[in-house]
């Protein structure tokens, strides 16, 4: 599992992470969402031991990642831009990993070769970004990790490989109860395999929740009144957004949909129900509530 407690981190003069708390339990597939610049990559680099937090602590399976910690044997890190030794051939890089990790599984490496067919003799500098990512995933799965941290792992991969990678992640979790954290912009993938999500913006984790709970509890309110919509409802303090087509209003509220509905009932609406919100909408409005501003843009 991954446990981030009160972590703050500045890069130069800029405070990138501000009192971040995050928890991913064992066997969870945790999706980290957030706009660019929210601090996701910095948080991830702190998690895998590249950066050291200025404040706070990070525990992987209960252990802190100190210099040369043996916990690093069980951490797989797949960054958005995979950095290998450009002068090496693929087989040199494989050899390097093979002798670095105590739990390297040669059998698994060979089996996965059926899927990731990248020639051994090719030089790393000849590989495209997608191929480097594939190699990274191939290598990292072969080290038998307990924790996998992935920063935009599927960007740059073609749809076929993408599907295979997601499937491998799912199988990995099934087999070994691996904890997986994926930072991604791809909501489709997120909804496909993640069971928990965390939303980050401006260096803070705004929301951490079970995905099923999010879908069941965060909904839009659709309401219509016989006459004019009451002012108290139109200008409700918890309102994030309100739109209407004719008499039917759709409201996005910050929290406590039930509470707002109870208040609306007092005004005797002719229509009152909750309707679906897509994850995109949820994301946009949750961020919007925290200053991820944009208005209605029209050319």
């Amino acid at each position: 599992m991954i446990s981030v407690v009160g972590v703050s981190k500045s890069l130069g003069q800029n405070k990138i992470l501000d009192d971040v708390n995050l928890f991913a339990k064992e066997g969870a597939i945790y999706g980290l969402l957030g706009p660019n610049g929210a601090g996701k990559t910095t948080l991830i680099k702190n998690m895998v031991g590249i950066y050291t937090p200025d404040e706070g602590e990070i525990f992987i399976d209960g252990q802190k990642l100190i210099d040369g910690s043996s916990m690093k044997e069980k951490i797989a890190y797949i960054p958005d831009y995979q950095n290998f030794y450009n002068q090496f051939k693929v087989k040199d890089m494989v050899d390097f990993y093979r002798h670095t990790y105590r739990d390297w599984n040669e059998e698994r490496y060979q089996k996965l070769k059926e899927l990731f067919s990248i020639q051994d003799q090719k030089k790393i500098r000849q590989l495209s970004k997608g191929m480097k990512t594939q190699l990274g995933i191939h290598l990292n799965l072969s080290i038998m990790p307990k924790v996998m941290v992935m920063d935009e792992p599927t960007s740059g991969l073609d749809p076929v490989i993408r599907r295979e990678v997601l499937n491998l992640i799912v199988q990995e979790v099934s087999l070994n109860n691996t904890t997986v954290l994926i930072s991604t912009h791809n909501l489709g993938e997120l909804e496909q395999i993640c069971d928990h999500i965390g939303m980050m913006n401006k260096g803070k984790v705004l929301l951490e929740t079970n995905l099923d709970d999010l879908k069941e509890k965060v909904r839009k309110i659709q309401v219509a009144f016989k006459g004019e919509i009451p002012k108290e409802i139109k200008e409700h303090k918890d309102l994030l957004k309100i739109e209407n087509v004719g008499k039917v209003y759709q409201m996005v509220v910050k929290e406590g949909v039930e509470k707002v509905m109870e208040e609306i009932k007092k005004y005797d609406p002719i229509l009152l129900e909750t309707i679906d919100m897509s994850l995109e909408e949820i994301f946009i409005y949750k961020m919007g509530g925290e200053g991820y501003e944009f208005g209605d843009f029209t050319f």
């Binding site: 895998v48 950066y51 951490i75 950095n83 670095t100």
Partner: protein, 352 residues
């Protein structure tokens, strides 16, 4: 055994060798041209001589420089090797890993920082020293098998050669690695290492120049023997001078072994300090010119002082005007350039 494995790592050592062995090949080639090949060239030259002529012995004698010079380390090729390779290899070992972010990869892997560092030190030294050892063996072999050179030098001379070559390599390399802990980019590391190696002597030279300039412009005569005396001490700290220790330290030639021994100890101390600094290096500063933010002001002040001392006499020297005002103008220009140019470089590098 445990101590060894906790300090080094075979896999990391292999990796660094694999990345940079080409330097070793080049060094080997250059040394081979200089020593073993000089034997071939010598034999070639003397085969053209007429053993019957009166000047035969003389001709033989004056051509002996072809072999004795390289053995004594007095060869441009060897100066080149000693000056360029330790610095360059240290630059590549550190700067390139930072630039390509593979150092981050190592940071995620279960290696200790000390292992990463010491494996690089060992790899760098191996790449430089092995070519010397090989050529040492080849030269001994040639000395043994070629009778024409038997009276030019002895086996002891070859031993002296290798030992006098390895000490500067060790010294320059450990100094470069130390600099590499303070400076982040390959280019900056190489440039600053060269500058700092020449710095003590260079500064002394600047002080002498300024003393001259002040004397001329103010037409005062002050006793600058203390500056000259400083020169005696300063030369021990100006590292490149150790390429030719017999020349620069001819007055203490009897203590040369002591000096070499001290240099070896100094190198080991520098390697240790480099290791401690490496532990404190922050990954997020990979790619910055200075690895420690606190160095920025110190660095700018240092550069400013040097350029100040340079520009003052430079201005009066070029324009040939003995005016104190001009000297001061030169100082001010120097100060300004020395402050703003490094500042600019740091910013530009950061934005890149």
């Amino acid at each position: 055994m445990n101590l060894v494995t906790s300090l080094f790592n075979k896999n990391l050592y292999k990796k660094d060798i694999r990345l940079h062995w080409v330097f070793g090949i080049v060094i080997f080639g250059l040394l081979f041209l200089d020593l073993p090949m000089s034997h071939i060239r010598y034999l070639n030259e003397i085969s053209k001589l007429d053993p019957m002529s009166y000047q035969y012995i003389e001709e033989l004698a004056w051509r002996s420089y072809m072999i004795t010079d390289p053995i004594q380390g007095e060869s441009p090729i060897q100066f080149f090797i000693l000056l360029i390779f330790p610095i360059m290899i240290a630059g590549f070992l550190l700067g390139e890993e930072r630039r390509t972010k593979t150092l981050e990869l190592l940071g995620v892997m279960p290696y200790k920082r000390v292992q990463i560092y010491m494996s690089k030190v060992l790899a760098g030294l191996s790449i430089m020293i092995v070519p010397y050892l090989l050529n040492f063996c080849i030269t001994l072999l040639m000395r043994y098998s070629i009778k024409e050179v038997a009276n030019l030098y002895g086996y002891g001379d070859v031993v002296h050669w290798i030992y006098m070559s390895i000490v500067p390599i060790l010294l320059f390399f450990s100094f470069s690695m130390l600099m590499g802990m303070l400076v982040g980019t390959t280019i900056a590391q190489v440039i600053l290492t060269v500058i700092f190696m020449f710095l003590p002597g260079g500064l002394w030279g600047l002080l002498m120049m300024n003393a001259e300039a002040i004397r001329y412009t103010l037409a005062i005569h002050f006793n600058d023997t203390f500056i000259r005396e400083m020169g005696d001490i300063v030369r021990f700290f100006t590292l490149p001078l150790y390429i030719l220790p017999e020349r620069t330290f001819h007055d203490c030639i009897d203590k040369i072994n002591l000096i070499m021994g001290i240099l070896v100890i100094a190198s080991m101390i520098m390697i240790f300090i480099g290791y401690r600094l490496f532990l404190k290096n922050k990954m997020e500063r990979n790619g910055e010119i200075l690895m420690f933010a606190g160095l920025e002001n110190f660095f700018k002040v240092g550069v400013a002082i040097c350029t100040m001392l340079l520009f003052g006499p430079l201005l009066t020297g070029i324009l040939q005007i003995n005016s104190i005002v001009l000297l001061i103008i030169g100082y001010v220009i120097g100060l300004g350039l020395g402050w703003f140019i490094p500042n600019y470089c740091i910013q530009v590098n950061r934005r890149a």
